[in-house]
Chain length 365, copies 2
């Protein structure tokens, strides 16, 4: 994997280009989330039309269903998703902890009970890398230990220590050069511990580095403070990835700090609940005031939904529970995110960041 | 509305062309069903890509939600569906009877309690036509009285008499020349009553004629027998429409009798349940044997799903409950139906009906 990064003196935000086995990702980039093998409600040809260049999936979930062997028979994650471009998988560390599927963690790895069929399984740094390489992804993530936002200091430090040790074992377990590997930084909400984790993980030598363990219930300012405090400890010549964020404003903020990659379920999940992103702010499509409104969700939006459907029609589809309503809303929100990233990249190229990007984000900036 | 019909001597099946306010429908044609304002899970741009030329919706349902006034603010049914081509609405007679929303039927009309909000409403032949014209559809259907398959002879005759009287009142209520009006034939499962109903309804003078009150629980042979016995009583120079059928084989059978238009929820409903139409017969995608199968659902199929997704991937999407699974399956099944109709039309033009069409239907013929 190759990362070319174009910097502007005095500006932390960077315009980059990530060259992976399955193609190029212009950064900063947002990765639509296909946890179980699909971006919810959005076909791959529409993802292409919306301008997505990289998709995120989840190794833990795919290892449960359909399983690694079946996945290989179907052409790996690329075959399953029918996605020809780059794919990044999270190892599933976060899912193991958040699905309460966790039975036991020790220095060797994680013992879990599958949330699908109840079978016991074991994730170690070694098999986390092995599974992701077998799935044929472009970027794999290390196994890390995730802890709650309110974990006591000793627990935070134990997870940090373990995450570093696992990072080294993940790196040693690599066999497939076509799959890049990113390290994950932990350390809770203590800037000193985050700096230590970043230093230790970076010293192992990865293709990129990610901030893990954020957005676990902490206030947004704390997320930003930790991201700001950690970024200088992450090698500038490698991509930096904030996992699981965020709002359009979060993306602007983290880009301005020097982060390059993002993923979040927010655009698709909110869409299914009828919350749409527009430059004027959020639009709750179920509100009665939209019932007879012939205007599109966002008059300046060029997404397939806004080109053909009125607010009134979309509201009707949501109110009658038509699947198409969730599909159209998901298209719109993903387009909003992907368009914002295009505007961010254009602004960085022109030297007009963040002003131009803020205009695209509108009320969200 | 204009109907040009090309007949081949000695062949009942006909190749036709229906010219409506919003465009041309080559017949025989299958109409995808958008009861509540959407073909379930299928966007209008995909309907266009699949080759649909006319879509069916339901005046009763749309009158409940979003209601006629809001519908008009949104550009009628065409605006709601974002569908530029012809639209036919059923009046909703069948729905009033099948949703058990019915409170009382008398010679004047139908009193119902809305299945959406419990409000009382009244459907008469006059307002059924008025509502459909206000919705701006290309083809409206008369209000008819639907009865159960096992209704006693006196009840069948009463419904027949009422349906004829309502047909005349519907015809007299027309105000908008852009909306064509089809009469509906009732008469239960008595060929003599069907012939009488057809004669009476045709004598009123409609743009087309439909067989109603079929597929209400009777055995398939009985549906076919009634359709065969009635067709010669329906004017040959006007389109003939069998409402609510059917399997691919049903379509072949009714086309061979001289029917021109069909609608059915079967392709989309079965798709959501994981049942796929292929030339080899039905394919139950959830079966374990498809889990690792890299072949498409139908190797000779050119639909968007078969061009990109394997049976294994589609099974995985259905097993994990991903909305995309239902979407992709619906696309495939609708394509199967619309492709079959294209093959039927081509065979009629070539003089190779039904052989060529049977090949397209495969195991269904």
């Amino acid at each position: 994997m190759r990362f070319d990064v174009m910097r502007t003196p005095g500006v932390e935000a960077r315009r980059g280009r990530l060259t992976t086995t399955h193609g190029i990702v212009e950064t900063p980039a947002f990765m639509p989330v296909a946890t179980h093998g699909a971006v919810k409600g959005v076909s791959p040809w529409l993802l292409e039309e919306l301008g997505a260049t990289i998709v995120l999936s989840n190794a833990y979930h795919l290892a449960q269903r359909p399983g690694v062997e079946l996945l290989q028979a179907l052409g790996g994650v690329h075959g399953l998703l029918s996605w020809k471009g780059p794919i990044l998988t999270d190892s599933g560390g976060y899912q193991l902890f958040s699905l309460a599927a966790l039975l036991r963690v020790d220095d060797d790895g994680v013992e879990y009970r599958s949330h699908v069929d109840g079978r016991r399984g074991r994730f170690t740094p070694e098999n986390a890398v092995e599974v992701q390489e077998a799935m044929g992804v472009d970027i794999a993530m290390c196994l890390d230990e995730c802890i709650a936002a309110d974990a006591p200091p000793a627990r935070v430090e134990e997870a940090l220590r373990r995450t570093t040790a696992w990072a080294a074992r993940c790196a040693a377990a690599r066999r497939r050069p076509e799959t890049a590997l990113f390290g994950i930084v932990q350390g809770g909400f203590d800037p000193a511990l985050r700096a230590r984790s970043a230093g230790e993980v970076a010293a192992v030598g990865f293709d990129g580095h990610a901030l893990g363990g954020l957005c676990v219930g902490e206030p947004p300012e704390q997320t930003r403070d930790i991201a700001a405090a950690t970024v200088t400890h992450l090698p500038a010549e490698r991509p930096r990835y904030v996992m699981g964020v965020g709002t359009p404003n979060d993306l602007l903020t983290f880009v301005s700090m020097g982060y390059d990659l993002f993923d979040c379920v927010l655009p698709t999940r909110n869409a299914r609940n009828g919350m749409l992103f527009t430059r004027e702010g959020k639009l709750t499509i179920r509100n009665a005031r939209h019932a007879g409104d012939p205007r599109p969700v966002d008059e300046a939006c060029a997404c397939p939904t806004c080109r053909r459907f009125s607010r009134g029609a979309l509201r009707h589809l949501m109110m009658t529970g038509e699947m198409l309503g969730a599909q159209l809303a998901s298209l719109h929100n993903l387009y909003f995110y992907l368009h914002l990233m295009r505007e961010i990249r254009a602004a960085l190229e022109e030297g007009t960041f963040p002003e131009r990007a803020r205009a695209a984000a509108g009320a969200w900036a």
